[in-house]
Assembly symmetry: C2
């Protein structure tokens, strides 16, 4: 809704980056290793091309990930985190910590029907 820097000043800054399901998922997948487009897509449970591309471009704009194109015969494009992106470690780490200590209580749609795995 495009709030122009009112209220919480810098909150709306990181909201753009963190306030997105896909962004968080992509970043966590690129955490350990550099991945090719297809490989990343596969790991993300076969998310469709348009969706993943849109978010990859977005993260690229924010200089959080880097896109390297190799001019080879079978085209190869690899995505990896930039330094800026790696600086997110504490954030992802804190999130992971919190979720480990505070497992979700309910399941949004299917009211906690025994889904206590992971």
């Amino acid at each position: 809704m495009k709030s122009e820097k009112e209220s919480k000043c810098n909150v709306d800054e990181y909201v753009e980056v963190f306030g997105s399901k896909w962004n968080l998922i992509i970043i966590s997948h690129l955490w350990e290793n550099t991945l090719r487009y297809t490989e990343l897509q596969k790991r993300m449970n076969g998310i469709n091309a348009k969706t993943i591309t849109t978010h990859l471009r977005k993260l690229e704009e924010h200089a959080i990930i880097e896109r390297k194109v190799y001019a080879e015969v079978p085209p190869r494009v690899e995505y990896s985190l930039t330094e800026r992106g790696k600086a997110l470690l504490p954030v992802l780490g804190a999130m992971s910590e919190w979720s480990k200590k505070n497992p979700l209580l309910k399941m949004t749609d299917s009211e906690a029907n025994g889904k206590t795995e992971i």
Copy 2:
């Protein structure tokens, strides 16, 4: 799209909580103090009732915020963070840290047309 616990195990757990613009904003507003419905709404730049209520309910389900209703003549409802919610401090802190050290580079829709404020 309801991915059932594939790929990154615990990632999809916190994505539900953090992967939302409004959740992050609400949490950051309730950070310092308990707020009444109207006050919270006002601080969120006049976000409309339905939207804020939806997210407040969601955060309540996740036991991140608490909703206290005072049976007074002019109804009063106050929202505050629970212990579980306060445990998010490191996460929000890390986000804030990151965004301070890594200011956004561009403006999403309006291609950086001089909007370098904040």
